[in-house]
Amino acid sequence: MIQGVGGKVIWVDLTKGKIEKRPIEKKLVEKYLLGAGYLSKVLFDSIPTGIDPLSPENVIGFATGLLTASMFPQSSRHVVAALSPLTDVWGESHAAGFWGPELKLAGYDAIFFTGASLDPVYLNINDSTVELLSADDVWGRDVFETDDILRERHGKRARLIYIGQAGENLVRFAAVMNDRDRASARSGLGAVMGSKKLKAICVRGTGRIEVADPKKYMDTMDEFYRRMLANPFTPGRAKYGTTNLVEMMQHIGRLPSYNMRQGVFDGYEKISGETITEKYLVKPRSDWCCLQRCARYTSVKEGPYKYEGGSPEYETQSALGSRCGNDNLESVLFGHHLANQYGMDTISLGGTISWAMEAWDEGLLTAEDTDGIDLSWGNHASIVKLIKMIAFREGFGDVLAEGSARAAGKIGRGTEKFVMTVKKQEIAGQEPRAQKSMGLAAVTAARGADHLYAFPVLDEAGFDDEIKERFGEEYLPEMAERLNPKYKGIMVKECEDFMVVVESLGLCKYGTQIPPEFYYEDVALAMKVHNGLEFTRGDLQIIGERIVNLNRLFNVKRGVTRADDNLPDRLTKEGAPLGPSKGEVVELDQMLDEYYLKRGWDNETGIPYASTLKRLGLVEEASGMEIPD
């Protein structure tokens, strides 16, 4: 028996309105853990190939990790996954908050939804009671209204996941929201919920979590708390969250600006975290059991952008700010608030709007295309207007709601070359010419352009000691140099393996990857005292590799090869035009060669070798596929 988990999985057939509870399979957990790994396996087996991601055949899963709701610092997370309507490949997204812990306290580790309902519904979980209820009165409402209404009905202590109008309207980058302003934003999974007419999952759990070894558990967690609090990162993170990254990224030329034409932005000080903290901060906040406390509330007191609510993080500052040439901070704050209200991924939102702005700047889009909206760089009123038009698919907003790759496909006229995506998902806030590892990570991530699947931050400011500890001294100094492509294939591979383990445990990347405080040995110890599961560092590394390879097989089955692991030409062929990384390009081929070699994947096709799959116990999963020897 596994301890420290809910112990049950819920399967909901939305077409038939049928709910089934199944026990969690220990064998599966031993091979894939919970969270991201568990979803990877179950959805690999249950999502057919050749389907439309917005059809009832898609299956969407929600899962907590093995350590979610434990006392491990930052153990608040849950994962959502399905076939992505944005990328047409593996879609996965994570969020922190309180929903995951609440689900576990109700006695469940995962929920899967198959089919589609004819009428809007939500799933209500109150400990052992699990029921589908009509969502007629909340369908059409935004995230905050839905939260208010359902908590009024089910109690203030209920925790919710939901979609806003963007998900209902099948915006391809709609987010799954939770706890009002937390978002599983990437991959467009909100649209999958929308396609199934699933508005929300409301959870109230009053159970207990039994841990395997209470005495050792308390001692271990006590030590982990002390370590986390003593880490030099902790005070700054608690004060600024990630918002103070803007100034640092500007300084190393890694702040995407003007649709990634460049990595520096003249107006960076106006949108910086220091300015947010000084002028707009209401108070910091945190998720379950978090000592890093990167979240915060902000407000704009007056004017057209008046609001009070969640604060943007670095990604949104760059997406709606520098990326759109926009130095009006109040519009960035308000735009972020609107994206939460309607439920959209701010990275793809800003990436799509900035694509349109560059096309406008180049004279390839005109007022005739945009319903008369002026798309000049930095026109913040237009940005804010477009956010609502996208969520409701009004006019030009309907074109943009498809994401920049599809929008460019529709418009044509050479606008395609301004699309900054990988596998149709917009590249996040890391101008990769200024940090090569991020360029590689964006192309190898299973869910399309993504900084978090590997989150290779060890070379950002150059953590030599941690690189020495985690990889070995022989990789220094090159691995720690952000502009040097050497050893980045090795780094990204190892970081991916560790990060998928972290996402399978329900832990935050803050505390595991940056600051790099807890590593394999620490999480193995936590799993022993919390779950009663014995794993060595080597075991966990194999599990990480297995999950990454299974995600790859999911994509290979849908036609992905090396040709898809590619960046826009701008980033690989045109030198950064200015700033501290001037003249740099991403040496993608060199890094990919090293990555495939380290992974045991065929260098030409990017498909795992049969020997790799055999070593990882994935032979059966690959049956029927063309696998290189």
Partner: protein
């Protein structure tokens, strides 16, 4: 001796009370010594590791966007108009 612009970020800026300042120094070590003198104990307590008398773990110093570890560390020579940045632990995405 070179005249350089030193930029301060986040929690370091809170101590110095300014975004940036001009300073004269021949290398990074001398620059840090001058900063210690000018901003005293609050600066030293937060930024300097008493065991090594160098920057604390995860603090970083960059000259024109390059980490000093990739140059000549604390002996990195400074030239007129160099931009020196002093970061507290910051990173992520």
């Amino acid at each position: 001796m070179a005249t350089v612009t030193v930029k301060f970020f986040a929690t370091v800026r809170e101590i110095t009370g300014m975004r940036s300042m001009e300073m004269d120094a021949k290398n990074v070590r001398e620059l840090l010594d001058k900063l210690k003198q000018q901003f005293g104990k609050p600066f030293t307590d937060v930024v300097i590791d008493p065991k090594t008398d160098e920057l604390k773990k995860f603090f970083s110093c960059m000259v024109n966007g390059k980490r000093i570890e990739l140059l000549s560390r604390y002996e990195t020579e400074l030239a007129d108009n160099d931009a020196v940045a002093l970061f507290p632990p910051v990173g992520g995405g």
